[in-house]
Assembly symmetry: C2
Homo-oligomer: 202 residues x 2
């Protein structure tokens, strides 16, 4: 069977990736498309273009706008959202990304990823805290110990580097992004429906 696929590239520190992570499942299912969940890191990409943090911090007007836009978009989609106050932003996303990559991409990685986003963007939790990640894994009835240990193995470290390198090779410069089997790149939660329609129509 020749099943249609799309690659969903997401960064755990990203606001708009949260919206797309919550939305993509049903939208892809409706179109008969399998989503490949591809966590990657924006840090190295931003660093290569001379930024030492997120553009939302470097460019204040853009950052101010983003928070208001996120509130409005989340409300439109019926998703909870709370501007974080406790944790400094952007959060460190390496631990969450490595755990995600340790989980099979059969629904479990997607579920873990959505829960990390909810912890960050609705409950103001620190997603680089192993306790927080362990709690999420425990809620999923997974054994946190071996999974956290695995994040320190060369294989998982390399897998995340490889994902990030592959993202760069696709021309990805922000998150979320989507790539199609025929080589199209779509950037942003705003292009989620179009990216899926593109794949569905091929």
């Amino acid at each position: 069977m020749n099943k249609k696929t799309i690659d969903f590239w997401y960064e755990f520190a990203s606001t708009y990736s949260y919206l797309a992570a919550e939305r993509i499942g049903p939208l892809a299912r409706d179109r008969g498309i399998i989503v490949r969940w591809r966590p990657f890191l924006l840090g190295p990409i931003f660093h290569a273009q001379g930024w030492n943090t997120t553009p939302f911090k470097i460019y204040k007007a853009k950052g101010d706008y983003m928070w208001r836009d996120m509130e409005r978009q989340a409300a439109r989609y019926g998703l909870p959202f709370k501007v974080p106050v406790v944790n400094e932003l952007p959060q460190h996303s390496v631990l969450a990304a490595r755990v995600a990559l340790s989980l099979p991409d059969d629904g479990m990685r997607a579920e873990f990823s959505r829960r990390v986003y909810r912890a960050q963007w609705t409950a103001d939790k620190c997603i680089s805290d192993p306790e927080v990640i362990s709690g999420i894994l425990a809620d999923m009835e997974l054994d946190a110990g071996p999974l956290l240990a695995q994040t320190q193995t060369p294989d998982i470290k390399q897998a995340l580097k490889d994902n990030t390198d592959e993202a760069i090779s696709h021309g990805i410069f922000g998150a979320p992004s989507l790539t199609t089997p025929d080589g199209e790149l779509f950037w942003g939660d705003d292009r989620l429906d179009q990216a899926l329609d593109w794949v569905a129509s091929r």
Copy 2:
């Protein structure tokens, strides 16, 4: 009569402003909203955040993406679009913006603005060339001479500066943008429908 209004902030050098300029008329009319056409300059805003040109040139991956995204978006909307090859980008937009401000905002400014966008993004014309602008005005059966002379008056120069200052005061950092009477800012052609829906629902 308490007519609903929205302010449409556009920069003549902007790609996505072209899409919004072509789309906003019917969408606003359907909702009984009057559009206030507000040309402004992004140059001073970009300069204040340390950029000496458009971010699409500074960040190559983002620029490459933008051209492909523009092609896809224009096709979706049934609008012609041609990536310019003759003219260096971004084009100088001061002349077009000053002429636009010299025209009454009763449909004439909108019509002139759309024609300038079409000249730039479908016919690869130089919009800082007085001949090109004169041609557009002549096609509209307007007398180009006095209008071009007016662009050199202190009043029109100040009016464009004032528009740009007002844009900054609204937190505008890119084009197109839309502002509502109750103080919301929406950025991008992607938020055009939502901005109009926001005003219509108030």
